[in-house]
């Protein structure tokens, strides 16, 4: 009995190790709508080309860690990886250069974040950029125009929110990626930034402090506990018609118009980011796909990369819920009829601004997010929080030198 117990796993392992090598691609994708589309496409491509496809679905934070470990230690475990654009500067060293340049149909802002050291190292797959979601029906009811500035937003939140007994605004202020993403459009609209031209932190500039103070004012009209909110909570408030406005991502547009999930079908409009002292600009959040330099199947991997980002495939992906990265797909008549937000999305995407292009963005965002979250939770004064954040970001940059 004991002998059998000992032998069984050994035999099983030997058998599984001796399997003949075959053509295969291992693809790491984000668990969620963006990854599901790529996964479906990969299965189709694999079946057509006789290549075995293994898809690893990982949640956002874990995806970065696994990919980065694979790239930095060149294990070659993955042949195609999905990359959120702020990760790109850190990962660029480990990526293989594209065999030829992408065509001109790709939107310029999306291609701009795929270049490093004079080479193009990735293709844009999902054309994400922030949009402003607001209740056009209620704004019309109170005879107010669509908000063009953050002051308009605040005025609307106050007036409509108070009369309708709903939250005037909802944002996500959980530490990390969430709060930083919701603060950046404010920061830019008030004329601030994270780093200046010489790569020094300026998050405690007067403009930045004004922006954070303004965020806290908006917070008064936000649901209690918003300092712990993530994307799902924000969207839930919009869907349940308990909040009036928010910054959000195109991935949620479909849900807003889906009667099974939403109480606000056709009542929300999607518009470009409000401005204030500077014109409004949303944050770019493009998902890229790339081939690690250590991949042992790079020829197949590049074939798949170009195939999955060509116009017909992007149309398919759009039907599966992913915003495209090609102008021709955004403007294709049969899609515009289906997706009423496409013109607004295209405009927002073309003007969208990437997060600072630095290898250290993860660390900076982590630090910045902690202090922003603390200020929103009332645990720290805005100016003090930003001074502390600036000091720590300076240390992060200093150490890397």
């Amino acid at each position: 009995m004991l002998r059998l117990a000992f032998l069984a796993p050994v035999v099983w392992l030997l058998c599984s190790c001796n399997r003949a090598p075959e053509k295969s691609l291992t693809i790491a994708v984000n668990a969620g709508v963006e990854g599901t589309a790529l996964k479906t496409a990969a299965k189709e491509w694999g079946a057509a080309h006789g290549v075995k496809i293994e898809v690893v679905e990982l949640p956002y934070a874990n995806l970065f860690e696994k990919e980065q470990l694979d790239l930095s230690s060149r294990t070659g475990a993955y042949d195609v990886i999905m990359i959120d654009d702020p990760w790109f500067p850190r990962m660029a060293d480990g990526l293989a250069a594209l065999p030829h340049e992408p065509d001109a149909d790709f939107i310029a802002s999306c291609v701009a974040v795929t270049r490093a050291g004079g080479k193009t190292l990735a293709l844009p797959y999902v054309g994400n950029s922030q949009l402003f979601f607001y209740r056009k029906d209620l704004f019309a009811k109170y005879k107010m125009d669509a908000p063009k500035t953050w002051d308009d937003v605040l005025a609307g939140a106050k007036k409509i929110g108070e009369s309708e007994k709903m939250y005037g605004y909802v944002m996500r202020a959980a530490a990390g990626n969430a709060v930083v993403a919701d603060f950046m459009p404010l920061l830019w609209a008030f004329g601030g930034d994270v780093l200046d031209a010489s790569q020094k932190p300026v998050v405690d500039s007067p403009a930045a402090i004004d922006a954070l103070r303004f965020m806290l004012q908006l917070g008064k009209y936000s649901p209690p506990g918003y300092a712990g909110f993530n994307a799902d909570e924000v969207s839930a408030h919009l869907l349940q018609s308990t909040a009036l406005m928010s910054i959000n991502w195109p991935a949620w547009i479909a849900a807003m118009d889906d009667p099974a999930k939403s109480k606000v079908v056709d009542k929300i409009d999607f518009i470009p980011m409000p401005g204030e002292r500077a014109p409004g600009v949303g944050e770019l959040g493009t998902w890229l796909i790339a081939v690690p330099a250590a991949s042992k199947h790079s020829a197949d991997a590049f074939d798949f990369l170009f195939w999955s980002t060509d116009a017909p495939q992007q149309k398919q992906a759009a039907l599966r819920g992913n915003p495209p990265t090609r102008r021709s797909v955004f403007q294709s008549p049969d899609l515009v009829g289906k997706f009423r937000a496409f013109p607004a999305q295209l405009a927002a995407l073309e003007s969208a601004r990437p997060r600072p292009r630095t290898k250290l963005w993860n660390e900076i965002e982590n630090t910045f997010g902690i202090y922003l979250s603390k200020a929103n939770a009332g645990a720290m004064d805005p100016a003090a929080a930003l001074h502390a954040a600036s000091e720590e970001i300076a240390q992060i940059l200093q150490r890397a030198r």
Binding site: E65, G176, S373
Partner: protein
């Protein structure tokens, strides 16, 4: 099997041969390869750049993580010990159904920590968790009870999960210790007229001391390195409210790709663990 010894001839002088060493050799080799070598590697990585250590001193997050790890360890250890001892004495005093209680109480510590954490996420969720749901049923206003989502309540919520999960471990060891106590000294004290409290303080507790120290040592080692539950429950948030040293090391190494600094922090964690366990072991030996 071990070939070294099969050729040996049985004689009465075998006790003097240093063969014991050969028997332990495979284990020693495995441990050198899998524990000692990696440890040395880590230490070298940490000391490769002494800037790692100057950074430690000024790193606020590391300070917060250290303080929180100590608080978490101390509070959870104390609570688990008191509850574990009380439960061990309680169950020991029952005349019937002892084994049912014992088996049931051990369940939490046997679960994979990941699964336990998932169960508690279902419980703690402020909107649809069963905890707030039950409280609301009882007429409590739960809008301010955000548990793991709240800046002030998150660490305590994590500690509660650890207490739930690991009190059984203390209970198990202390029950075993109680069973191993010979009945004579207790009888003798009882005949001398000692009350239950005196009996416990003067007889049971001293005899239980080695078990208590061992249990505390093992539990403290695991608390200091706590990772799994927090990784699932809060990932260290909100803000830095549940950041611990292990989690911060993980993030530094795998999210910020700074292996040197991560190694320096591990070195501190290791040194603290070793000092602490040395101390406890010395106390144990000196019993």
């Amino acid at each position: 099997m071990n070939t070294r010894v099969t050729s040996e001839k049985p004689r009465h002088s075998w006790r003097r041969l240093p063969q014991g060493f050969w028997w332990t050799l495979p284990s020693i080799v495995v441990l050198i390869a899998l524990s000692i070598y990696p440890m040395i590697y880590s230490v070298r990585l940490a000391f490769g750049d002494l800037g790692n250590f100057t950074r430690l001193i000024s790193d606020r997050t590391f300070g917060i993580a250290t303080v929180q790890t100590i608080v978490l360890t101390a509070v959870a250890l104390a609570a688990e010990f008191v509850l574990g001892l009380a439960l061990a004495l309680l169950v020991d005093s029952l005349s019937r159904a002892k084994s049912i209680f014992r088996a049931g109480l051990l369940v939490p510590m046997l679960l994979p920590p990941v699964v336990a954490a998932v169960a508690w996420r279902l419980i703690y969720n402020p909107q649809f968790g069963v905890l707030n749901g039950t409280l609301r049923q009882l007429g409590v206003n739960t809008s301010a009870l955000t548990w793991t989502n709240g800046h002030n309540s998150a660490l305590l919520s994590v500690i509660v999960v650890d207490i739930w999960e690991w009190t059984p471990f203390l209970f198990l060891l202390l029950s075993a210790g109680l069973q191993a106590i010979p009945p004579d000294p207790i009888e003798a004290a009882r005949i001398d007229g000692a009350g239950p409290w005196r009996l416990f303080r003067d007889v049971t507790l001293p005899l239980l001391k080695p078990t208590i120290l061992l249990a505390l040592l093992l539990r403290a080692m695991d608390l200091v390195r706590i990772f799994d539950q927090i990784f699932i429950l809060t990932q260290g948030g909100p803000g830095t409210a549940t950041e611990t040293v292990s989690l911060y090391i993980y993030r530094t190494a795998f999210r910020f790709s700074n292996f040197g600094y991560a190694a320096a922090m591990s070195f501190v964690l290791l040194a603290a663990t070793m000092l602490f366990s040395r101390g406890l072991m010395r106390v144990m030996r000196a019993r």
